[in-house]
């Protein structure tokens, strides 16, 4: 699947396109198929997102899993500081990234 990601302009938070807005949780990301670039341009123009781009992801039972490790790190947080990630209490979160 293809999903759309970027950063919130004011906060810098990593965000994922949900179909209607932007979420901080990759599990909320939808398949944008071939329409990602157009959505990115529109959303960036309206400043609802900064620096958006389309990525490949695998559909999994837990939700989309970005194909590239860099985006998985973005999705969760630094592997070396689990306490600073989106899932500090989840001992398996790190292995989802790696």
């Amino acid at each position: 699947m293809k999903i759309l990601t970027g950063n919130n302009l004011e906060t810098g938070d990593v965000v994922w396109w949900t179909g209607s807005g932007w979420s901080r949780h990759v599990a909320d990301a939808v398949d944008v198929d071939e329409g990602g670039e157009a959505i990115a341009a529109r959303e960036e123009g309206a400043r609802r997102v900064n620096a958006p781009y389309v990525i490949e992801a695998l559909e999994t039972p837990e939700g989309p899993r970005p194909a590239h490790i860099k985006d998985r790190v973005r999705a969760l947080g630094p592997t070396v500081r689990p306490d600073l990630t989106l899932k500090p209490a989840d001992p398996n979160a790190g292995s989802w990234v790696i």
């Binding site: 950063n7 302009l9 004011e10 906060t11 810098g12 938070d13 990593v14 960036e44 400043r47 900064n50 620096a51 194909a67 590239h68 490790i69 860099k70 790190v73 973005r74 947080g77 630094p78 592997t79 070396v80 500081r81 600073l84």
Partner: protein, 544 residues
């Protein structure tokens, strides 16, 4: 250390308001990201993997307790309770909001700090020797010249849109603790036969995709010509540096493509034209600045011996303490490399503690080293034990300076959008593998440096052992390099063979080190043995 006058303060304050205006125009849409990006970079603000990252300048690595406390405050107030000290003596915060950035800069300005030109295609933080003003063997304190360069380079109207970033380092000792020959311009203060001070000038060093050791282009530049000459170098670069390919845009490429001789000829031709403009600061200005770097009020007649009865203290004193130019004093290095920790990171509490210790034990002064540690430059020997006890209680007393677990590591793929692989976990695993301090001390000086991508912020080209993280078909992979040095014996590490997985690189490092131990001769460091025997014995040990 240098203190702002009304002019310095006015300039920094104006910059804060300028950036506040620019941020507002970005948020309102008056500026596109493409237009805004160079502006925010010139204020040290990156968009990284998790958030914006702010790189705060610590000019030539020197700061005082008040400034250190502000760095802790910034970490708590605007970030997530910690900061990362970098290989250019700056500090980075990883979780910054764009909307907060102007206020952060305003807070920094109240203690004479800023984030000016810590990124962007302009002249970056001037780096220097972390032992400046304290080491016995320096010709002079290099920092007054570093401060002159800082002011000269700040908002230089001709050189703010260079082909690429520009890094300058200044030292004043034959022992190069700032890696000057791996900088765009490296300056070493020397004295001529008449005893007058001047500079050896190196141009065109650097790491990254095409590492190069800078050639010397001038063996003696009188200090009175200093800024004019540097201006001439920058003008040649600004006019003729490549702008067609960002991987070929550093001055090292220009020097390499022209050849050092032709490049030097062009600089020497430009120099008299620039000199005629009268833009060198007068001697009075140098004297004004130099006065800020006068020695603190060292006491005379202090005890020069140490009580080494406590073996843990003795280990730290032996490894992390350097001789001072003044009897009774010592230079103490605080390790930010606890085994299994994140190299260069410090919590807000640790930063506050270091500020307190500097105030109490080091005339209020601290230094940041390019190896991502902190130095207290002027500690009475009589105070070292009490200092060590407090460092020990805070996890800041690892006695591993220049040993194998004193690793330089960039933030890597855990933080950086440029990275291809994670570097911190590799550093942690290697440090844990060699956790035994007796083993580390037996191995002696061993500088291990890890970069998560070819940009080489971890200085892997300059490591006795260097590790480069790469992306191999979507997977993290690590190349092993041997034989680099960032000191006065500068050399570039060479890759030994095919890359490894994360666990594989740790094993490969251990094999290389054990091979060193097996074949070393008396007094040889790892680097010396490598230089004596070449890569083959190591290759054979690693790949079998």
């Amino acid at each position: 250390m240098y203190k702002y006058d009304q002019y310095d303060q006015a300039i920094v304050d104006a910059r804060v308001e300028e950036f506040r205006d620019q941020v507002e125009r970005r948020l309102s849409g008056a500026l596109s990201e493409d237009q805004f990006k160079p502006l925010r970079l010139m204020n040290g603000l990156y968009l990284q993997l998790h958030a914006y990252m702010l790189r705060v300048a610590i000019p030539y690595g020197t700061l005082d307790s008040r400034q250190m406390r502000m760095l802790a405050t910034i970490a708590r107030k605007y970030d997530r309770g910690y900061g990362h000290f970098t290989t250019r003596q700056n500090i980075q915060y990883n979780w910054i909001k764009l909307a907060d950035a102007p206020d952060i800069l305003a807070d920094l300005a109240t203690v004479e700090m800023h984030a000016i030109q810590t990124s962007g295609n302009c002249i970056r933080n001037i780096s220097s020797d972390q032992f400046a003003g304290a080491a016995a063997e320096e010709v002079a304190d290099p920092r007054p010249w570093a401060e002159l360069l800082r002011q000269w380079s700040t908002f230089h109207p001709e050189f703010s849109y260079l082909p690429r970033k520009f890094k300058i380092a200044v030292v004043a000792s034959d022992q190069d603790r700032a890696a000057v020959r791996l900088h765009d311009i490296g300056l070493q203060i020397v004295r001529n036969d008449a005893g007058a001070p001047g500079f050896r000038v190196f141009v065109g060093g650097g790491m990254g995709r095409t590492p190069m050791v800078a050639p010397e282009i001038r063996s003696f530049l009188p200090t009175a010509d200093f800024l004019s000459y540097v201006e001439a170098i920058l003008r040649v670069y600004n006019r003729y540096g490549r702008r067609d390919n960002i991987y070929k845009a550093r001055i090292k490429i220009l020097v390499h493509e022209l050849g050092a001789e032709e490049f030097t000829r062009q600089v020497e031709a430009e120099f008299p034209l620039v000199k005629a403009l009268g833009l060198d600061a007068p001697e009075a200005e140098f004297a004004r600045i130099a006065a800020f770097f006068a020695d603190p009020a060292f006491e005379a007649g202090l005890a020069d011996e140490l009580d080494l009865a406590d073996p843990d203290f003795a280990a730290w004193a032996k490894q992390n303490v350097h001789p001072h130019k003044t009897p009774g004093y010592a230079i103490a290095t605080i390790s930010l490399k606890p085994v299994g920790g994140i190299p260069g990171d410090a919590s807000a509490d640790q930063i506050d503690l270091m500020a307190d210790l500097a105030e109490r034990y080091s005339f209020n002064e601290l230094r940041v080293t390019h190896a991502q540690n902190i130095v207290l430059p002027h500690v009475r020997k009589a105070d070292l034990y009490a200092l060590w006890q407090q460092l020990e209680a805070a996890g800041l007393a690892t006695p591993n300076l220049d040993l194998v677990s004193d690793i330089i590591a960039c933030p890597g793929l855990d933080y950086c959008s440029l990275a291809n692989a994670r570097s911190i976990p590799v550093a942690q695993k290697i440090a844990r593998r060699f956790a035994d301090l007796d083993r580390q001390r037996d191995l002696g000086e061993l500088k291990l440096k890890i970069s998560g991508c070819i940009n080489a912020c971890g200085h892997h080209h300059a490591g006795h052992i260097g590790i480069l993280g790469v992306d191999r078909k979507g997977e993290e992979n690590y190349q092993l390099l041997l034989g680099g040095s960032g000191a006065e014996d500068a050399s570039l590490a060479k890759i030994v063979g095919p890359g490894f997985s994360e666990d594989g690189i740790v094993d490969a490092v251990e094999k290389a080190i054990e091979r060193y131990r097996a074949i070393r001769q008396d007094g040889e460091r790892f680097l010396d043995t490598y230089r004596r025997v070449g890569v083959e014995p190591f290759k054979e040990a690693i790949y079998g």
